[in-house]
Subunit: 368 residues, 2 copies
Amino acid sequence: MRTALCDTLGIQYPIFGFTPSQHVAAAISRAGGLGVLGCVRFNDPEELDEVLDWMDANTDGKPYGVDIVMPAKIPTEGTQVDLAKLIPDEHRAFVERTLHELGVPELPEDTEERAGVLGWLHSVARSHVEVALKHPIKLIANALGSPPKDVIDQAHAHGVPVAALAGKAEHAVRHVDNGVDFVVAQGYEAGGHTGEIGSMVLLPEIVDAVGDRAPVLAAGGIGSGRQAAAALALGASGVWMGSYWLATEEYLNTMPASAAMQTALVRASSSDTVRTRIYTGKPARLLRTKWTEAWAKPDAPQPLPMPLQNLLVTPAHNRLHETNDPDLVSMPAGQIIGRIKGIRPVAEIMAELVEGYEQTLARLDKTR
Amino acid sequence: MRTALCDTLGIQYPIFGFTPSQHVAAAISRAGGLGVLGCVRFNDPEELDEVLDWMDANTDGKPYGVDIVMPAKIPTEGTQVDLAKLIPDEHRAFVERTLHELGVPELPEDTEERAGVLGWLHSVARSHVEVALKHPIKLIANALGSPPKDVIDQAHAHGVPVAALAGKAEHAVRHVDNGVDFVVAQGYEAGGHTGEIGSMVLLPEIVDAVGDRAPVLAAGGIGSGRQAAAALALGASGVWMGSYWLATEEYLNTMPASAAMQTALVRASSSDTVRTRIYTGKPARLLRTKWTEAWAKPDAPQPLPMPLQNLLVTPAHNRLHETNDPDLVSMPAGQIIGRIKGIRPVAEIMAELVEGYEQTLARLDKTR
């Protein structure tokens, strides 16, 4: 399994693994793919710096990248306290009522409340870029499309290519016009922020729209060698996987309290996700739980715009997380989770992908 | 492009073309695929009989099939007049108000009002099966899953295999348990009745679930050789296409007043469809028009269950159709319509699919 992108980035397989876990990202890179570390959880740039130091020490010199969340348009900015004033009482009351109805206890008084995720803020995302560029990263990906031009220029000045997620062909063309080097075509099936066009239709549409100007990676619905082969058949130069790495042994090294989430993923079918604005304010696919179901009821308020919705729900997510209840997990996840049958090491998944890819090509040979 | 299914059915390419047009179906069969004639529009079994006589005379002895719409559970039955009494006044008023607001005129007084489509009724679908089995058909497909066991037995007694559409792996397994011979895995991208799982995820899931018990055809998002190759990479034994054949020259031979619909398809992007219950009462993907937008507004009533919704909207569809306005077409269509750039002969599309398939395999060869 090899495309021109492998030479461009110095990787063995065109398999890109997005993950908030440095342990998973490093394992993907060591296994021949490109681990891409999600930065949005780092409110403190120094913490990101330390984690990237760890990556540098644990990737055996293999390439890795980072993923930021930076809207092209600069959204409402301000301190967490300023922003909190913009959240309506109705929304706070709904969250409290829902948590009460779900039997979710308050956090113990001595718990240090984790801050809302400020990584959605432009200023914080910019600090992620600045920190990351001090490390030997090989890719900056932006989950919300093109970053501003000066950020792209800054990356290019360091010799680092920029990738941008796109859910429509017209967005992909705009990203390339803005100077983005790779497009990640994110189909409806995908976890996290995603559009309405299925991968089968979206991928060749984006490949045709950007032509030779940029390689395209396929995101959404990839968890096997067959799906990787389908993505390359559709014209992708590589595959971008996210949800599938949540069910790895390495993930627990970074997030030791994630066993309930992993249990939920293992038992979920492909029907157990929902695309909703309740996580960030923009449509994102999440694991379907009692929490997402509560927001789907007629009495639920409309989600707030980014970044307010995330500030609203983060304290609730912390409380849900502490229950260790698979029914109450709050987690972005794609439809591919139906394929997850257990918790495995990253290297095993990578080997299976590559072997499955080769078997698929051998099977297709017989159709000529 | 060849799979074991080609030998089973005596076709050159494992390309299945669902269409309400006998001219299109015959052209697909003549070009080496399997044309599958949609029967739901035939309220009168004798009319279907005549059309199948025409098929027999115009397919050069090549195999063809038929598609029926038969719920596994027998729904509300009755004459059209009985059923009409079950439609609430609120719904009739909404339809009238909407047509008025869209500037859709009444039909001229001398117009013979076309009946609501009774093909949704069990009794009518059964008459389709009986008529079809008098012809040398090679496949009966059911758009709503497994037909009742006696219908499957009846087909098998005539040596005719039965295919059933499925939008979830568990449904596919049930169909095969019921005696269905082929499963059509219908992804979220597809036009008409469709589920929520994207083709990239659904297809291998269904292939794995039914194993060696039944070949699986891929429906949803197929309009190019690349997409056909992706489907076969995912494990399909063939592809099932519907929307793409609407934009053919042959379609106009059967439905001469469809130029506005074809204009709408040519200009539509992959974002210009919507999945809604307004066509039949079950979720189906339609071309997005001013009509579908009206039903999406907050003041619109909830669609009625099958078969009432279709009886409610069919007179409206007739009036919309007479406007010859691409903005007012009512037509099931999948996301693949974004790829339609013009009106072409069926044979040209078939040749492009096969050539594109071979080119894709040649391209994949270079990734080893």
